[in-house]
Symmetry: C2
Subunit: 214 residues, 2 copies
Amino acid sequence: MFPLTSQRMPEKMSEERAALDELFASSVLAHIALIVHDRPVVFPTAYAVINNRLVIHGSTGSQWMRAIEGQEVTVEITKLDAIVIARSTFESSVNYRSAMLFGRFNAVANDEKSALLDALSDRLIPRRSSEVRPSLKKELAATTVLAMPIEQWSLRVSEGWAEDGDEDIAGDSWGGVVTFGPPSATIAATPDLREGIPVPASVLELAGAPGRII
Amino acid sequence: MFPLTSQRMPEKMSEERAALDELFASSVLAHIALIVHDRPVVFPTAYAVINNRLVIHGSTGSQWMRAIEGQEVTVEITKLDAIVIARSTFESSVNYRSAMLFGRFNAVANDEKSALLDALSDRLIPRRSSEVRPSLKKELAATTVLAMPIEQWSLRVSEGWAEDGDEDIAGDSWGGVVTFGPPSATIAATPDLREGIPVPASVLELAGAPGRII
């Protein structure tokens, strides 16, 4: 149970890794489980995959960040793709992709911090880091960046149609799938924005492809 | 750290509970953390709130279901609402609502099972249980239904605009928010659907308001 490592055929592994990367490309929200004071806890955070590491960040004052550093964790990333409507409630289900990754997050070296934070920012807001001033020294000092190598993981994919029995198929009940596409996205300028500053390319790109994020 | 219980003023509590209920009404995906063989694990599952209990279900053969029954768990439910674009990467962030609930899931009584499974199904596919045949005895026997009372929880809400410093506000950089709305939803009939069976009201309702689900 709970496959913490997998024995995979090389071909299958590369297919699975491609599916994992596709999941990374379509969601920025990760759920990190750890043990704190003998209790299981889980918290959500934005992440980016950079050079085969899962990278997260937070304030140096963040108790979560301090709690997970160096600890054994499980990271779960899930995308709900569709609701499968069978001819019965019993056979109805959801289509989803869900990854679990196992390992430990460690603080990155100080000289890596700035580049990783820019990459993380650019994952959420494409190329935003090139539009704004560089981070200040005091900002970098106030930020913890943690990274976990992507080594041990498993992926579950549920897709396709319901498997109704012959009797239900012969009946009058409908069956099918409701598939979710990307969300809508609306742009609003901050109330204290000075006049004449146009919406930047980064924001137009983000709002044009919100399915990359959620 | 990690407020497992909260001391709240009555008024504040009722406001918070309303916000929690709003979160329940806008997402069906929960992330359940538990300890298995001394390791922290977390898995995603659909849930419904029924009579102030968090209700989940699965196959009686599911190792997850068996593992969580009676164990101390943390349930996390999160909705990512928006990306906050500041005039710097440092002040940029996300707006979200995230609940953590603490407790134990226990199996529900056999005579409750059918009604809870119908309610769970109706949460995902509105009123679907009234459109299809009742669950068979063997289907009920093959299904585990677990419930956790909603007693201990905390809610974090991040909303609003970035808090840029005066120097950045006076500069040329844009600031604002990209807010995500409900996803698009498309309906597809299963390939083996008999001719002449129309899309039912439940599916039209689901596809018309996918923001209730994700």
